[in-house]
């Protein structure tokens, strides 16, 4: 019912908007449009639009968009931006006027505003993907901005978890390091770390753990550095790609106040493609399988029953059959998300500033699942004089989120459809029969064990820019980032657990605090010189980053229910502390030579030293070379005049990745700080098994790209091919267990990623009142292990498998051959296609890979007068996912768990049955099995966003924009995958569908 109401509201709103267009027939004209760079198509922020020969004008906002009212058809508008050639235009009858400004100077010449270079000269030869501000300011309210990156840049793969405030997993151009498909969270975290790109927020490196303290609305753009050359400037940290996040700065001009509120409703989601078994089928199944813990079995009359007993049993059985509890619905709630943003931006002459604050409050699908964020940011730029400018940027963010240790999605399989929340003869939840289930009331389980995470982030950055002379320009920047995070884990007292002899039953509380302070100093000197057609720029500098980490925690068992459980301390509490420092020192030099804006050569070098490596191999050099050729500037190319741009570029770079290397991995170290005691005495332990031969992983990457612009700036595109060879791959691989340790981080081999990326943005239709913009991106990545040094295969754990010639992340499973009709036991194939039984069945590859080779997305934006409709689709193709839920259902049904509807018909029950699934009592094997490997290709309709600017209709003085927005997310997924969601590994819930209404006022 709620759904329908929601849809109705949307529909009415939409219709009322359409009707309101009629009021547009007035003499005075309002025009709007987007001002972009003619070469790259990037929008220009703060460009001015004035009526010729007057001072009356407007400026473009963070989206490069302007709106100018009160004009007449004869008005001549003048468009200008520093470093670009101005354009003039008569308004006429148009309401949408988009302008592409031509850069006035050669590529290399700086467009310097407040000491900041506005042009990203790395794009001349390197591959830098850019995500516009619109994605963040007009996108879905999100607990963490990384959730918004999906489908935006070719070669950037995002997998989000759907939990409030939880970060997504991000990969640039495939997995560079080996990572194994993660079965549990802890494994996932360690696999993520080694493959994670480097994140830079306004110049300072940040950890993905603080993403949820960043306000997405503050982000002006995100640049994704993909190739080997542009990442050289990050030296030993750049091999997995770099994501640079830049936040908004003030726009000189009249002060703009912006208030935005968005309200989102997330209805209770279903289980994707799965429906759970209903009461009658479940009871019959329990009867059939003699599940002694099930009521179906218990109320089955036996020949020895008296007439009365049989009567009672039958009566009860019928009662149970008629009960049908939807536990997911019982345990879940409709969630609300509130998102409020306030910002002030402005400036005059030599000063500009930006101030923002935001509050975000997201509910998850049940009580203990939520996230909250408060942020504020202030920055100021000032030009002392023509030569010296300073900038200051500060931000504070606090995020808090809570997560229950179980969830409705993990509990529902243990709750019977024939029981209700008030049942007291429940059986499935009886801890004596079912190991590991210690609750009578599922709400106790949902609310009794949870963790909350609070983190504070304070950033302070200052910058000084001094134009020493025409050729020299010196920069200094200094910044500190302070993080303080607190992780509390609460286990409330539980009588059942206590009775089972588990000490945590008395209640437990665990608190971990960690703090880090990173200081960064960057000094650089730029040199630029032009002689006729030749221009040279050289930039060199040094960077020092020092990070201090401290930790403190305590763990106490037995908490009183008379105080807040999070106070937790008691006489038996044990404490733990940690402290470690590390530092990085880098020197870099970058040079560029350009001839007549046609030919361009770039070289980049960085020499990085890291304190985490032993002294003799501390410094590592990273370097890259690139060249570009603007073919459209050649005279012979003039005949192809459909091309505005036709540029070929190539680059090669050598980078390093230190992912996962810790100082304590190099030598045997002992831990004297643990809490463990034996008979009251301390124990010491080896911190971890060591590997004295560890070195940084090295990536060498070739890229070849063609940038083109077509049909008078209506299409911009890039086609790019790359080959990335990584050697000395870092991976935590198995070592023989006879060493007493089972895995170790080692440099194990070589890997090649190669692929093609296509990025296209087109104004498909542009009329005087209508514009249709399309952005398409497509990435194909193929990876292959090319060398494993002395071995030809490496096995990791029970399902990780690396073999020369195979992609990493291949499914390595037993080959399911079906069910033996004689006895209901599972059968498998061996390598020679002979039938074998479970225990001896070999694992093999050939069932696909868990990473999709093809990923991408496409966005369409339609503008008509004041209405904008945009919609995003994302897709991934060619990979498989392991249907863990199905595996669990088949394995645990004998313990009383609830499988999917129709399961009864799929299982073998008596000799002669030919069924797809084995007799559940004979199926406990947890090893991976090709039966559960399913194609996980999908196409997802990610969102549709409708924005309408009402300011024309409202005509409230001073209000320049009054936008209302309506949007819907995760509307539809087309997939052949039979689990919950093709993007989710493990057992979880599908990405939640949500509906948002918002209002956005600028004055």
């Amino acid at each position: 019912m709620k759904f329908i109401q929601k849809h109705l509201v949307l529909l009415i709103l939409f219709l009322s908007l359409l009707c309101s267009f009629n009021t547009n027939a007035q003499e005075q004209i309002t025009v709007e449009g987007i001002i972009t760079d003619a070469q790259t198509g990037e929008s220009l922020i703060g460009a001015t639009v004035i009526i010729k020969n007057t001072t009356s004008g407007v400026i473009t906002n963070y989206e490069g968009h302007y709106k100018f009212g009160g004009l007449v058809p004869e008005t001549i508008l003048q468009y200008s931006y520093i470093g670009y050639e101005s354009q003039e235009l008569v308004v006429g009858s148009k309401t949408i006027i988009d302008i592409q400004l031509q850069p006035s100077s050669k590529d290399l010449e700086a467009v310097v505003v407040f000491g900041e270079n506005q042009k990203d000269i790395r794009t001349i030869t390197g591959s830098v993907g850019k995500i516009d501000t619109k994605v963040f300011s007009a996108g879905t309210p999100a607990g963490s901005f990384d959730q918004l990156l999906q489908g935006q840049v070719a070669g950037l793969a995002i997998q989000s978890s759907g939990e409030p405030g939880e970060k997504a997993s991000i990969r640039i151009r495939g997995n560079n390091s080996l990572g194994i498909r993660a079965k549990d969270d802890a494994e996932l975290v360690s696999a993520n770390r080694a493959n994670e790109p480097l994140y830079i927020l306004n110049g300072s490196p940040i950890s993905s753990d603080v993403f949820n303290t960043i306000n997405p609305d503050d982000i002006v753009d995100i640049r994704v550095l993909k190739d080997g050359l542009s990442t050289v400037e990050y030296g030993t940290r750049g091999a997995n790609g770099v994501i640079e996040i830049k936040t908004k700065r003030g726009i000189v001009g009249e002060t703009q106040y912006n208030v935005r509120y968005q309200h989102t409703v997330k209805p209770i989601s279903g289980l994707g493609g799965i429906s759970l078994m209903q009461s009658s089928e479940k009871l019959a199944l329990e009867r059939e399988l003699e599940i002694v813990s099930g009521l179906g079995f218990i109320y089955t009359p036996t020949p020895s029953d008296s007439e009365e007993e049989a009567f009672i049993k039958n009566k009860r059985y019928r009662q149970l059959e008629s009960t049908s509890t939807n536990w997911l619905k019982e345990l879940s709630r409709i969630a609300q998300v509130k998102d409020l943003q306030l910002s002030i931006s402005g400036g005059a002459d030599d000063t500009r500033y930006y101030l923002s604050t935001s509050y975000y409050d997201e509910q998850g699908g049940f009580d203990n699942s939520w996230a909250e964020r408060f942020t504020t940011r202030f920055n100021l730029d000032h030009n002392f004089n023509d030569d010296v400018s300073v900038g200051f940027d500060s931000s504070v963010g606090r995020s808090k989120r809570s997560k229950s240790h179980s969830s409705p999605a993990s509990l529902i399989y243990t709750l019977q459809p024939y029981e209700t929340a008030n049942s007291d003869d429940f059986i499935a939840r009886n801890p004596i029969t079912i190991g590991g289930q210690y609750f009578e009331n599922p709400f106790d389980e949902l609310n009794g064990r949870y963790s909350d995470y609070t983190s504070w982030r304070v950033d302070l950055n200052s910058r000084l820019n001094w134009i020493v002379s025409e050729a020299f320009n010196a920069n200094a920047s200094f910044g500190i980032t302070y993080n303080d995070s607190e992780n509390n884990s609460v286990t409330l007292a539980n009588k059942l657990v206590q009775d089972a002899g588990i000490t945590k039953g008395k209640g437990a509380f665990n608190k971990n605090e960690s703090k880090s302070l990173a200081s960064r100093l960057n000094l650089s000197l730029d040199f630029r010189k032009r002689f006729n057609d030749h221009s040279i720029s050289v930039s060199g500098g040094t960077e020092y980053i020092h990070t201090k980490n401290w930790g403190f925690g305590f763990n106490s068992i037995g908490i009183s229910d008379k105080v807040d459980p999070e106070i937790g301390a008691n006489p038996n509490a044990t404490i733990s502390t940690a402290k470690f420092y590390d530092a990085l020192l880098g020197f870099y030099l970058r040079g560029n030579y350009n001839f007549a804006s046609k030919y361009n050569v770039t070289g980049s070098f960085r020499y990085d030293g890291s304190s985490i490596l032993p002294e003799d191999k501390r410094f590592v050099p990273a370097w890259g070379l690139g060249a570009s050729w603007n073919i459209q500037k050649e005279s012979w190319f003039e005949q192809f005049d459909v091309f505005d741009q036709f540029k070929l570029r190539a680059s090669y770079g050598v980078n390093y990745n230190s992912g996962g290397i810790r100082q304590t991995l190099g030598l045997p170290f002992y831990d004297f700080t643990n809490n463990d005691t034996y008979l009251g005495d301390r124990v010491i332990n080896l911190v971890e098994f060591w590997n004295p031969d560890l070195k940084f992983e090295r990536a060498r990457q070739w890229s070849l790209a063609l940038d083109f612009g077509l049909f008078d700036h209506s299409i911009y595109g890039t086609i790019e091919a790359y080959v990335k060879n990584t050697d000395d791959l870092l991976a935590a691989v198995d070592i023989p267990a006879s060493n007493g340790y089972s895995d170790l981080l080692r440099n194990i081999g070589k890997l090649r990623n190669q692929g093609i990326e296509l990025q296209l943005s087109a104004v498909t239709i542009r009329t005087d009142h209508f514009r249709w913009t399309t952005n398409i991106n497509f990435a194909y990545n193929d990876n292959e292990i090319t060398d494993l040094y002395l071995q030809d295969e490496i096995k990791v754990g029970s399902e990780g498998y690396f073999k020369v010639g195979e992609p990493i992340n291949s499914a390595y499973v037993k080959y399911w051959a079906g069910v033996n009709p004689e006895n209901g036991m599972p059968l498998y194939y061996d390598e020679n296609m002979n039938l074998v039984t479970g225990g001896v069945a070999p694992q093999m590859t050939g069932f696909g890979t868990y990473t999709h080779p093809v990923t991408g997305g496409f966005t369409n934006i339609f503008n008509y007068h004041d209405l904008e409709v945009s919609t995003l689709f994302t897709y991934a193709w060619g990979g498989v996912n392991y249907n863990n839920l199905k595996a669990r259902m088949i394995r645990n049904v004998k313990n009383g768990e609830v499988p999917y509807e129709g399961f009864y018909n799929d299982i073998w029950l008596k000799p002669g049955d030919v069924k797809p699934l084995p007799y559940p009592k004979f199926f406990s094997d947890t090893s991976v099995n090709s039966l559960f490997v399913e194609n996980a290709s999908y196409l997802r309709w990610k969102n549709i966003i409708i924005r309408y600017n009402l300011s024309e209709q409202l005509k409230i003085k001073g209000i320049t924009a009054f936008k209302i927005t309506a949007q819907a997310n995760n509307l539809l997924t087309i997939t052949g995958y039979e689990g919950i969601d093709p993007e989710i590994t493990g057992i979880g819930q599908p990405l939640p569908r949500s509906f948002t209404l918002g209002v956005d006022v600028t004055f």
Binding site: N555, L667, V683, G839
Partner: protein, 456 residues
């Protein structure tokens, strides 16, 4: 131009300044490198504490091997299917038994002590003795881990098959890829470690305090292990010599039998040779060992075992498994002496009674009357019917079964004697474990074979 040079100078100075300080020399101060860690005897002792602490974990005792024996008549997979697989002698299906990994983890911690023995400085002779005794315990413990591994993962050592491949001999902490050593090599290592340990204890006048005695792997434990190893290796003389150290120590009486389990520190209780302190009153022992057996796997005891106890045998109660009844060996029942429901026992790895049994078996052929006398001492102490004529080997085996139930020795006994006594273990579904069956040799798990090129 001058200006350029000036600014270049500034920049250069800045660079030189930055690089000249030792900006990157950060040594970790939250952890301690090897030399510093073992710079005193106290720290050396802490590393030994670590081994004992590790052994308190329920997965560290050998009890899961009992699932492979004939002591249980039914086992459910539940949520702990590994025990169920062991019950079915299926050592391949995931999750595989963890004994291999865990015993080698212990060996690694023991090798920390053995490998660093030479670097621990002693200030005086007393300290040197302490160091030697810690070292001796580590040697004894490693011998024990190796013994457990060779019992499970290698063929039974008959004395003649010494050339057969056994297990990797992991004798130092460093990363190694080891092939399987031969049975002879493994047993030689075990014997030599034990002899060395015994010698060190004797030379240093080992005299532990009575409260700590049973918690140390001291002289008694080393000799008890010597006796156990020798019995399983068929070296009866050695078994007799080692166990002879114990048979003059009195057993508890039938009336005071409860003390064995409940009064671990009583002066009357001399039956405990080595035990580990239970941690179930801390958060370190989440799932106590009996939990899996009685709750998750819901085992039933073999009828044959239950009926073999005579009416007055006090051990029957201690072994009995039934609804809400857990044997003494794991948990102290609520009774007049104990009101706390979840009190675990300190796990007893070596007991006096086993030494009586080893002695009886070792002298059975040479002095059957002596065997009967010693066996009767035990039987009397337990309230069992006394023997009136010299026992057979089967009599002794049956006594071992009753006395040592759920202590991880039954499967070893079957492996050792099933061929001689023609014992066949049969499961309800028809699966059988015949004498000399390959099922007596457990499969080396994936954790080893995945990455060890010499073992597959």
């Amino acid at each position: 131009m001058k200006k350029y040079i000036q600014s270049l100078k500034i920049a250069l100075c800045a660079l030189v300044f930055l690089s000249s300080c030792d900006l990157l020399d950060i040594t970790p101060d939250h952890v301690v490198p090897e030399e510093a860690a073992f710079s005193d005897v106290d720290s050396y002792q802490m590393a030994l504490n670590n081994v004992f602490r590790k052994m308190t974990s329920s997965v560290m005792n050998m009890q899961s091997t009992d699932f492979a024996s004939d002591d249980f008549s039914s086992v459910l997979p539940g949520y702990a299917p590994t025990n169920y697989y062991i019950y079915n002698w299926d050592y391949q299906t995931q999750p595989q038994p963890f004994i291999w990994s865990y015993q080698y983890q212990l060996i690694a911690q023991e090798n920390v002590l053995i490998g660093n023995y030479s670097i621990v400085p002693a200030n005086d002779e007393t300290e040197q003795k302490e160091i030697d005794q810690i070292y001796a315990q580590a040697l004894g413990l490693r011998a024990w881990s190796l013994f457990n591994l060779v019992q499970l993962y290698a063929p039974h050592y008959t004395g003649e098959n010494g050339a057969e491949a056994a297990i990797p001999l992991k004798l130092k902490l460093d990363l190694e890829y080891l092939p399987r050593a031969s049975l002879t090599e493994v047993f030689q290592q075990i014997y030599s470690d034990l002899e060395k340990a015994e010698q060190l204890f004797v030379d240093t006048d080992y005299a532990p305090s009575s409260t700590r005695k049973a918690y140390q792997f001291g002289l008694d434990a080393v000799r008890a292990l010597q006796a156990r190893v020798a019995l399983f290796a068929g070296d009866l003389d050695k078994a007799k010599d080692a166990s002879a150290h114990f048979i003059h120590t009195p057993l508890l009486s039938k009336e005071t039998y409860w003390m064995l389990w409940e009064d671990q520190f009583g002066t009357a209780n001399k039956e405990i040779i080595f035990m580990t302190h239970d941690l179930s009153d801390t958060d370190d022992a989440d799932l106590v060992d009996y939990h899996e057996m009685y709750v998750t796997n819901n085992v039933s005891l073999s009828d044959e075992l239950m009926t073999s106890f005579s009416a007055d045998d006090v051990r029957k109660e201690a072994s009995y498994i039934g609804p809400n009844q857990m044997p003494y060996k794991h948990i102290i029942p609520v009774n007049e002496r104990n009101s706390q429901p979840d009190r675990n026992l300190h796990y007893k790895h070596f007991r006096l009674a086993e030494q009586y049994l080893i002695y009886a078996e070792a002298v059975l052929e040479s002095a059957p009357d002596e065997a009967m006398r010693v066996l009767n001492l035990l039987k009397e102490a337990r309230g069992a019917e006394l023997l009136t004529q010299a026992p057979t080997k089967l009599d002794i085996l049956n006594e071992r079964r009753k006395e040592l139930f759920a202590e991880g020795l039954r499967f070893y006994d079957l492996k050792r004697l099933s061929s001689e006594l023609n014992i066949v273990v049969q499961r309800k579904d028809g699966k059988v474990l015949t004498p000399n069956s390959p099922l007596y040799i457990w499969d080396i798990p994936k954790e080893e074979t995945n990455s060890n090129p010499y073992i597959n």
